[in-house]
């Protein structure tokens, strides 16, 4: 029992993050709307960011901006740096995905995956008939 409690206090943060991640991933792979998928992907990625930032946290620490006080404890700056980069990658991916969704809507008249699949299957069937 003690073991469990130790586990919980030590890792509850990560577990919450994992739950968020999985909701995001689930939205991405289960929803059919292209925009919603992108939102899901964002949640997934943001949760991964939380995971990294959680790693960098030191209990009782402060933000890694040096104050000059030699006794000050700082959280780890490296995960922050990595995640700054990752956020940028995330927004870049999002904007590209949105642009694709817009083009798909213009070309097909829909951004629902199922309808797109039907249209493409019909197109393939038509090609086969020629």
């Amino acid at each position: 029992m003690d073991d469990l409690i130790t586990q919980i206090t030590a890792h509850y943060n990560y577990w919450m993050v994992i739950i968020l991640m999985m909701i995001g991933l689930y939205i991405t792979i289960s929803r059919g709307n292209l925009i919603k998928k992108i939102v899901g992907l964002n949640i997934f990625q943001t949760s991964v960011f939380m995971f990294y930032i959680s790693m960098g946290k030191v209990t009782g620490g402060t933000a890694p901006i040096l104050t000059g006080n030699p006794d000050e404890v700082y959280s780890n700056p490296l995960p922050h740096v990595l995640i700054l980069t990752a956020i940028v990658v995330g927004i870049a991916t999002t904007s590209l995905a949105l642009a694709l969704a817009v083009r798909i809507r213009e070309a097909y008249g829909t951004i629902e995956e199922d309808e797109l699949l039907t249209i493409e299957r019909d197109a393939e069937a038509a090609e086969d008939k020629i």
Partner: protein, 501 residues
């Protein structure tokens, strides 16, 4: 060679295309963007050849970016394996760009060319950056540069077929999930080691020993890279993306993108994880190997009933990726060598085949096998290049495909894995069916009525035949490639902590 260049070769490899790429977007002179891209790729190729020569004797070049010694700073680390892959990537870049001039003019709007070539060169940059780096997070950053550029250039095939858009979108979603899995895995590794430098990671993982965190880190990196390299059954993005992308892009990606992902996999499996805990090898044997075997058979099988030539080639790629993974999961020096040499051989073969498909798309207006009947007479040189590439896919002697197959079967036999030999052989027999199907249609059937087809222009034929020529040359005399592959495999073997037969 000036000392300056020799000293900075690793960074120049990436920074030259990175600086040159943006200017492609600015140039408005007719074909100016193409020229810049092409010249850039030539320089890149020259650099990678120099790196190849420099590492051929086993030297490992380490370059400290920003002057910070690793693991504080980011390190570029070039050994035989990187240099080999760099040469493949940049060489493919040169030839596909040469090919692109006529092909892309046909498939992409002229006013888009500046942006298109910018994205193309950045894709090249990203792939080179992934290959050359010795820092695990840097891999992710450059992987995303290349991926984003890839999605864009795949989508620019939409002028010919709107399905390029959905293909690019699916590729984006799956690719991003893959990249995120990779980042999660990396995070787990970082958590138990506190470092991101690959060499340092390997060291500290060895000291760390077994743990559930390490195991999951391994699993997530494997799945993430599996998505990127189209490992069966995570390959669903690949067929449409390669089918509807502009042909030059298909040729480029098939020869580089998945290959670089396989390289990263090799690098992580052997140089970083090094099989220090049994779990790593177990997963390889129990999960990756069966999937690779299934992929090599199912991919080939699906290819047999495709009418779209580009899609046929895409499924064949899935099968060939399976073959490479078979080599990797043998966990033997010979298996690794087979995988690495197949990396090169398949790149050369597939690039030429996609170029053939692109030539058909341009001159015959179709890549449907049914509509390409009798094309062997109208486009003799193009179709002959297909014959060479097709024989290589099957693994007929005197082509590179044979060399790959030889080493692969040899490695399997050394392990005594007869069932694996059977799978390799059967997938090559299925290749015989799908290649034969097209060759028969192209030569033995009369052309449909009222179709005018002319031979492709020289700027397409030359790169196509350089690739076809390479797949013959290195099929007849493989001493250079097999030596490079053997040394690269040796390097990986030395880096890992497996006990090798």
């Amino acid at each position: 060679m000036p000392q300056f260049i020799a000293q900075h070769l690793p960074i120049l490899q990436v920074i030259v295309p990175l600086i040159a790429a943006p200017f492609c977007a600015l140039i408005s002179v007719r074909n100016g963007a193409w020229w810049l891209a092409f010249v850039t790729s030539l320089v890149t190729f020259a650099i990678s050849v120099l790196l190849f020569a420099a590492t051929f004797d086993g030297e490992i070049i380490s370059y400290h970016l920003g002057g910070w010694a690793p693991p504080i700073g980011i390190e570029y680390r070039v050994d035989m394996l990187n240099a080999f892959v760099l040469t493949i990537v940049s060489g493919t870049g040169v030839l596909t760009l040469l090919y692109a001039r006529a092909s892309v003019a046909h498939e992409v709007d002229a006013k888009q060319h500046g942006l298109f070539y910018t994205a193309f060169v950045l894709c090249l940059t990203g792939l080179l950056g992934v290959t050359i780096t010795g820092d695990a997070f840097n891999v992710f950053v450059f992987l995303e540069i290349s991926s984003l550029a890839t999605y864009a250039i795949v989508a620019s095939g939409a002028k010919t077929d709107r399905r390029a858009l959905t293909a690019a979108y699916n590729y984006l979603i799956m690719g991003t999930i893959g990249a995120t899995f990779f980042v999660i895995g990396l995070g787990l590794l970082y958590m138990i080691t506190g470092t991101l430098n690959m060499a340092d990671l390997a060291q500290r993982l060895l000291e760390h020993g077994d743990s559930r965190t390490l195991r999951m880190g391994y699993a997530f990196i494997l799945v993430g890279l599996g998505l990127k390299l189209a490992m069966f059954p995570l390959h669903q993005w690949l067929p449409n993306a390669y089918t509807y992308a502009p042909s030059a892009v298909s040729a480029f990606l098939s020869a580089t993108a998945t290959k670089v992902a396989i390289y990263v996999l090799l690098r992580f499996l052997f140089s970083v994880f090094g099989f220090s805990i049994p779990f790593e090898a177990d997963i390889l044997f129990l999960v990756v190997l069966p999937l690779a075997l299934a992929g090599s058979l199912i991919g080939a099988y699906i290819a047999t009933y495709q009418d779209n030539l580009k899609r046929l080639l895409a499924y064949s790629s899935i099968s060939q990726i399976g073959a490479m993974l078979i080599g990797v999961s043998m966990l033997s020096a010979s298996g690794l060598m087979a995988a690495i040499i197949h990396l090169f051989n398949h790149a050369v073969t597939k690039a030429s085949l996609y170029m053939v498909a692109g030539a058909y798309a341009k001159e015959a207006g179709t890549v449907s096998i049914r509509e390409l009947r009798g094309v062997g007479r109208d486009m003799p040189f193009t179709t002959a290049a297909f014959v060479v590439g097709g024989m290589s896919l099957i693994g007929i002697p005197l082509t590179v495909g044979f060399i790959s197959k030889w080493y692969l079967v040899e490695a399997a036999l050394m392990r005594g894995w007869w069932p694996v030999v059977i799978v390799i052989v059967v997938s090559s027999l299925i290749a015989l069916i799908y290649v034969g199907k097209f060759i028969e249609a192209a030569y033995m059937h009369p052309a449909p009525q009222g179709i005018i087809r002319r031979e492709a222009p020289l700027t397409m034929l030359i790169p196509m035949w350089i690739f076809a020529g390479l797949s013959l040359f290195f099929g007849i005399n493989s001493s250079l490639t097999s030596e490079a592959a053997a040394r690269a495999a040796q390097g990986l073997v030395a880096a890992s902590s497996l006990i090798w037969q």
